[in-house]
């Protein structure tokens, strides 16, 4: 390859990486946590004081429809699952269930910890209306950064693959770490750039094809591959709903082994009532999604989608989604995703630090302003996100029980914005040390807050085999130790390292000033 081409792609990789890196850090950090969102939902919800009697789903539907006529238009029914033992009916963002006495009650969600971190994952904390699309564009840039990174790295692929030169040359070490993680987890990153762009921008990107290539007929071609069913129209003729057990029996007969997780009802009480059922079925495929459409008043099964009968396009799309959400392979895959996701976050963090190292003036005590600003921005955004996520966990256990969702959201933004402000107010090395210590402290406090808030001793949880509580505690302890180690390392570099760096805390001495004048 010509060296000028190589230089072009180094520049492309650098600038695209810098633009996308901040959002990608947040997406990867929050995403790695979100891998466990079902288990975290159990962590954030206090166990019920009294055991609720197992509720009959059809009874809940009838009770809500009798008192809430508006629910007839459409509602969701969520069946109990491993980490959410309650049966819940939802419409218009209102939630209903049976209380301990078996009476219908409307309730507010106790906490939104896992939901908030999930939203952070796909919006990076930007407003909901456009955050998702912004991250979609970021994913395309991420794709360009990957492609150019591979082009730059390809000529020395085998020579550098297992090289990690720890030593005096800090830039070399960071570069090796960045390359090793980037190349070894390249398939993971390719999959994420691809599947995320499709999840975030897929619908928008149908438009150019619909209008420029397919003359408006695209949805007729691919609609059945993407959507389960077109929404039914109400007929205006009243008809009773077929009881849910009968619908379930129909589905189980046609798809033995189907596990329905949620149902979506449209026009309940109308002759055209439509019921969509979503769940899983194990057919030894990556995508285990199963879905069915039934007529709610006749009970007739109208469509059944499962891996066995997926079309090529559906299989492709659903498999990319399953790869994205880690919905296969159980715990082993989830932990692998968690580690690779955290390593990905580190990749973006190290990329920014490399940019600063590359611009370091090795002979001058006065460093370029751009390097200092980049250091402060990287510290503020990345460590602000880390501290904010830990703060949300703390607020979940220590905040006011009746307004947790609001406190969790505001708590995150408060911590995040304060960290960004702090990073710009202090010299980089000081800010790094202090913010990393803050991250370590907040993260270390998570198991303690859980203990104080729920009264469950973590050791007792271990004895009782509560994997979720023990898992959160162990991950928190590990990460707190890592942040503390990083904090000490950055302080050491500041006090004793090379003074020709934005990370140095050594004041320019008179002798050094004279030396520079002499030179």
């Amino acid at each position: 390859m010509k060296s000028s081409t190589l230089r072009t792609y180094i520049a492309v990789h650098t600038w695209v990486g810098l633009v996308a890196g901040f959002c990608l850090f947040i997406a990867f950090y929050a995403g790695a946590v979100t891998i466990f969102h079902e288990a975290l939902h159990a962590w954030e919800t206090p166990p019920p004081k009294t055991a609720r009697p197992a509720a009959e789903p059809q009874a809940l539907i009838d009770a809500v429809l009798a008192t809430q006529p508006k629910a007839r238009e459409s509602f969701y029914l969520r069946l109990p699952s491993e980490y959410e033992p309650e049966l819940i009916l939802e419409f218009d963002e209102r939630h209903f269930r049976f209380d301990a006495a078996g009476k219908l009650e409307e309730f507010k969600q106790h906490s939104q910890l896992s939901e908030f971190i999930y939203r952070l994952h796909y919006t990076a904390g930007l407003p909901r209306s456009w955050g998702l699309y912004t991250l979609g564009v970021i994913c395309v840039l991420y794709g360009v950064a990957l492609a150019s990174g591979v082009i730059v790295y390809a000529p020395t692929f085998f020579k550098d693959l297992f090289a990690l030169r720890i030593g005096k040359n800090i830039k070399r070490m960071w570069q090796d770490a960045h390359n090793a993680i980037g190349i070894l987890s390249l398939p993971f990153h390719l999959m994420y750039a691809w599947s995320s762009a499709i999840l975030a921008l897929g619908v928008v990107l149908l438009a150019p094809f619909q209008y420029l290539i397919f003359d408006g007929k695209l949805l007729q071609l691919v609609g059945p591959d993407i959507y389960l069913a077109a929404p039914a129209k109400a007929s205006g003729v009243a008809a009773p709903l077929v009881p849910l057990p009968q619908l379930m029996a129909t589905m189980r007969r046609e798809a033995p082994g189907i596990e329905v997780g949620s149902l979506f009802y449209r026009h309940a009480g109308d002759a055209n009532a439509q019921v969509e059922a979503y769940g899983k079925i194990d057919q030894n495929t990556v995508a285990s999604m199963a879905a069915a459409v039934l007529n709610g008043s006749t009970g007739k099964l109208e469509r059944l989608m499962m891996p066995e009968n997926f079309s090529a396009g559906t299989r492709f799309l659903r498999s990319l989604q399953a790869l994205h959400f880690g919905g296969f392979g159980q715990a082993a895959v989830q932990w692998m995703y968690f580690i690779l996701g955290m390593a990905g976050a580190f990749l973006f963090y190290s990329g920014n630090l490399l940019w600063i190292e590359a611009r370091r003036k090795r002979q001058s005590l006065v460093q370029p302003r751009s390097g200092k600003l980049m250091a402060q921005g990287t510290l503020g955004v990345c460590l602000g996100c880390v501290a904010g996520v830990s703060a949300v966990f703390l607020i979940n256990k220590l905040g006011p029980a009746d307004a947790l969702p609001l406190w969790e959201e505001r708590g995150y933004y408060a911590v995040f914005l304060l960290c960004v402000a702090w990073a710009f107010a202090r010299p980089p090395a000081r800010a790094a040390h202090e913010l990393l210590m803050l991250c370590a402290g907040l993260t270390l406090a998570i198991p303690l807050a859980h203990w104080a808030g729920s009264g469950v001793n973590p050791l007792l949880a271990l004895v009782e085999g509560d994997g979720v509580v023990v898992g959160v505690a162990l991950v928190a302890l590990t990460f707190a130790a890592l942040y503390r180690k990083m904090a000490r390392a950055v302080l050491r570099r500041g006090l004793h390292g090379d003074p020709h760096s934005v990370w140095s805390l050594r004041a320019p001495t008179a002798a050094a000033g004279e030396a520079r004048q002499a030179a």
């Binding site: 395309v140 794709g143 360009v144 150019p208």
Partner: protein, 89 residues
């Protein structure tokens, strides 16, 4: 560099859509092959943007890519008008 970058940003998407669209319309079984090809669009898009930086100058990138887009869409229009390429719904 700015010329090549703007060519990548503005011309990468229509060029990739053109290539993927052509292949999609050439298929004899469009009901089966269209969605898989659309899913490949992301790779084509990233590829087109990456290739924009292979040109010697920004002007060349704009002329070649822009020219390919104009010729391609014109050709597509006439092929569809004369029924040589059909959308089989």
């Amino acid at each position: 560099m700015w010329g090549k970058s703007t060519a990548a940003v503005f011309l990468g998407m229509p060029l990739a859509a053109l290539v993927v669209g052509f292949i999609a319309l050439l298929s004899t079984d469009q009901k089966t092959t269209t969605l898989p090809l659309l899913l490949m669009f992301f790779l084509a898009w990233v590829g087109a943007m990456t290739c924009a930086f292979l040109f010697k100058t920004g002007v060349r990138a704009w002329l070649w890519m822009g020219g390919a887009i104009i010729v391609g869409f014109t050709l597509l229009h006439f092929l569809k008008a004369y029924g040589l390429l059909r959308i089989t719904v």
